[in-house]
Symmetry: C2
Subunit: 452 residues, 2 copies
């Protein structure tokens, strides 16, 4: 009889990865370059320096180095909440009567509540090293803003978070925790920036949008001396930092003598999915035994399953570079689903490239079935998933029901839902809509995609 696998497996500090695995070094074809919205030519190293700090621009451009050393100070911070546990979902398996083994990498164990912290700490650290004296960012659902506030507090770095106004009103606890960490939270649009003022003038009652918050954050970063803007998803550098989740998961699975048949993560911008697949995708790219990869998105914002693979703006304000990605159109207005972190019109170029090559699969689900899956997970595994994470769980449950005996499903539990309880309340009251997205809406939004 084989040894009983524990509920939770932790690596020791010595077993923790000392490098971020850089997936691009193993990709046969790199994703098409970002394009400067002014010149419509590929972005150069110098173009990015006023916005991002130097070391991060280097990482953004680094497609050749397979392993990039994690700085000592970042590794020390990681040790305060990493390695995250790899958990065997015994109780969920039992409930589903599945013959499959289910594992999840659990990123809900830090105070900010999600995997976003893995990149936040790296970005704040590099800014600090460069002598940057303040940072700006935007946040919609709030996970990224919270994570960055936490990292900024640790490194004593002043931070301004432009938070989508309607989100700041709906999620007062998210705003409160960022402020408790010492961050300045400004509901967006605001009168502190020109772009904010312009939007307010056009529509004084607007609840704001992520695109608008990005515009304000970038504007303040560029106008403030020695200030930089930081972003929590989509970028290559973010996926690089998030690769630590996949590396840890692989080491832990090896300790248990397990190898997944399928790896699953939800997808909004791609930071968590890109992170969990990392070293398993390396197996695939190098022709070794490998799992299936499934990205799960909301049916109301189905960029991978129904989007067009084309160059598009990364923001609705059209001030950021353009990226080649599966997109619903930068002007796409997502339905107000509760998984706010999955409401992005595109996806990380790295992930889109893998999708275009047929190396990953994608699925889309409605929000009610995801909340139902989350509640089953809560009553069996005891963890309350973020609405975003519930999408991955729904796919896991579907796959587990039809799984072959002994097959292994691994997924990323990207964050907890303790600050999203208003969503659960609304779900319990039966008031959530399963938004159908008319093809017409996609077609209309895509008309704005420039020809490149």
């Amino acid at each position: 009889m084989s040894k009983k696998i524990p509920y939770r497996t932790y690596l020791s500090e010595e077993q923790m990865p000392k490098y971020w695995y850089n997936l691009r070094a193993d990709m046969k074809e790199q994703h098409d370059p970002y394009v400067n919205p002014g010149t419509m030519k590929p972005i150069q190293y110098e173009d990015l320096l006023p916005v991002f700090c130097e070391e991060l621009v280097k990482q953004e451009m680094n497609t050749t180095e397979r392993y990039i050393a994690i700085p000592e100070e970042v590794r020390e911070f990681y040790k305060t909440y990493r390695p995250s546990p790899l958990i065997r979902a015994y109780n969920l398996e039992k409930e589903l009567k599945t013959p499959a083994k289910i594992y999840y990498k659990f990123e809900g164990n830090n105070t900010s509540g999600s995997h976003k912290l893995n990149s936040a700490v790296a970005q704040v650290y590099y800014a600090k090293m460069q002598g940057i004296t303040s940072l700006t960012t935007e946040t919609g659902a709030g996970q990224w803003g919270t994570a960055l506030s936490m990292a900024a507090a640790y490194f004593n770095m002043p931070l301004t978070v432009f938070m989508v106004k309607v989100s700041a009103e709906q999620k007062p606890y998210r705003k409160a925790i960022m402020e408790t960490f010492g961050a300045k939270v400004i509901p967006s649009p605001s009168d502190t920036t020109d772009s904010g003022k312009a939007i307010l003038k056009a529509d004084p009652k607007t609840g704001g949008s992520l695109g608008c918050a990005i515009s304000e954050a970038v504007e303040q970063a560029v106008k403030t001396p020695n200030c930089r803007y930081v972003l929590g998803s989509v970028l290559d550098q973010v996926l690089l930092h998030q690769a630590i989740m996949g590396s840890e998961a692989k080491i832990a699975m090896e300790l248990l003598d397990e190898y997944p048949d399928v790896v699953i993560g939800c997808i909004g911008g791609g930071s968590n999915f890109g992170g969990i697949i990392s070293e398993y995708m390396a197996d695939k790219l190098n022709g070794r035994k490998c799992p299936r990869f499934i990205a799960v998105e909301p049916a109301s914002c189905p960029s991978l399953t129904r989007g067009k693979y084309a160059y598009d703006f990364c923001d609705t304000g059209k001030i950021t570079p353009l990226a080649k990605m599966y997109t619903l159109g930068s002007g796409f207005k997502p339905s107000p689903i509760h998984a706010g972190g999955l409401r992005y019109h595109g996806d990380a170029p790295i992930v889109c490239n893998l999708a275009a090559e047929g190396l990953i699969e994608a699925r889309a689900y409605y929000q009610n079935e995801c909340f139902e899956a989350a509640r089953l997970f809560l009553s069996t595994e005891g963890f309350l998933p973020a609405p975003e994470t519930s999408h991955a769980i729904k796919a896991v449950i579907d796959l587990a029901k039809e799984a072959a005996p002994g097959s292994v499903i691994t997924f990323l539990y990207s964050g907890h839902g303790l600050l999203d309880l208003a969503s659960y309340e609304a779900y319990l009251k039966g008031g959530l809509t399963n938004f159908e997205l008319p093809q017409e809406d996609i077609d209309t939004a895509l008309k704005d995609c420039p020809e490149i």
Copy 2:
């Protein structure tokens, strides 16, 4: 040079305690017995059976068995979130420039958010085994109600939680999470019980109180066939279950070759303090090397530091048994501080007995200094403490500042504050009062203590 101690130490599943340590077996004198409010005579085994389930009554009365086996099913549940980590507070030490080593046993890693789950799961399990078909309880701050809802969901046990009305209104997320777990949450006072109706008739606008919620929960349990009432603190059985925290902490500290000079916990009813001291107190009771023990309470509800050691009712409604304890009077109306879980007029009889014997010390702090300590902890250690837990942290910081080189401070981090963010918001706005408790108020409330 000695081996570097990791940030976090986890026991393996094999190293986890298989027994609850029963402190009473080592106490030279037992605390005075509970007294029946009807007969004013010591409570007998039979008196408790209509209220609590059988196995728990046995545990309540068991003063001789040093180790009580944890049932297999409870140990399986424990494995889903235990052992909790023992964390070395390197970053806090650095910030304080203390020569002391600080460790904390971290109980904030389960979805219910606190140590309360340790007893909740045991109580639900024994009820299930006895064939009980529903449970009732009350909750004020919400930690206990959340923990019990989580345990009840796992064992598929219907649960009604009477939640102090003002708390249900102030903490909608607490109510939402209990409902997501499937519990029925009734703001108290309600019109579902006679006691609730009577209180509403007398004062239709009342925000309720813990005493009133207890009355409603007990009434429903007694009137409903095959239903029992469960309680999350004060009782001997609760401290027994919570002893697992002290046992785990001691095993982990031994693995690190460490022994504390002082053990600290906050105290409301005594469930977390009684739990963390457990096996270290055994050392003291058996004349071995031992630490100091410090219980930390709010200055606005100072039962241990300013209360009278006397028999008193455990509830304001005077329907529960009387206990010999340090009390501020059962009619004492605590100031509306944010550490709702520390607003109890008495303390666990076991803890009071130890205090009366001079075996533990007590300190009291104001809420603003506790929130300040919590914020320092958040920015260094990265964890947002519950307002209750912040009291322990304040004491730790004070002790660390005056500590001798190499001394070791261990404390219990009883729960996280993610569902208490409204408190932090109020603190940041500078709106919190440091309530002074006039001696007169205590004297008046104590007049109600019966002579026994």
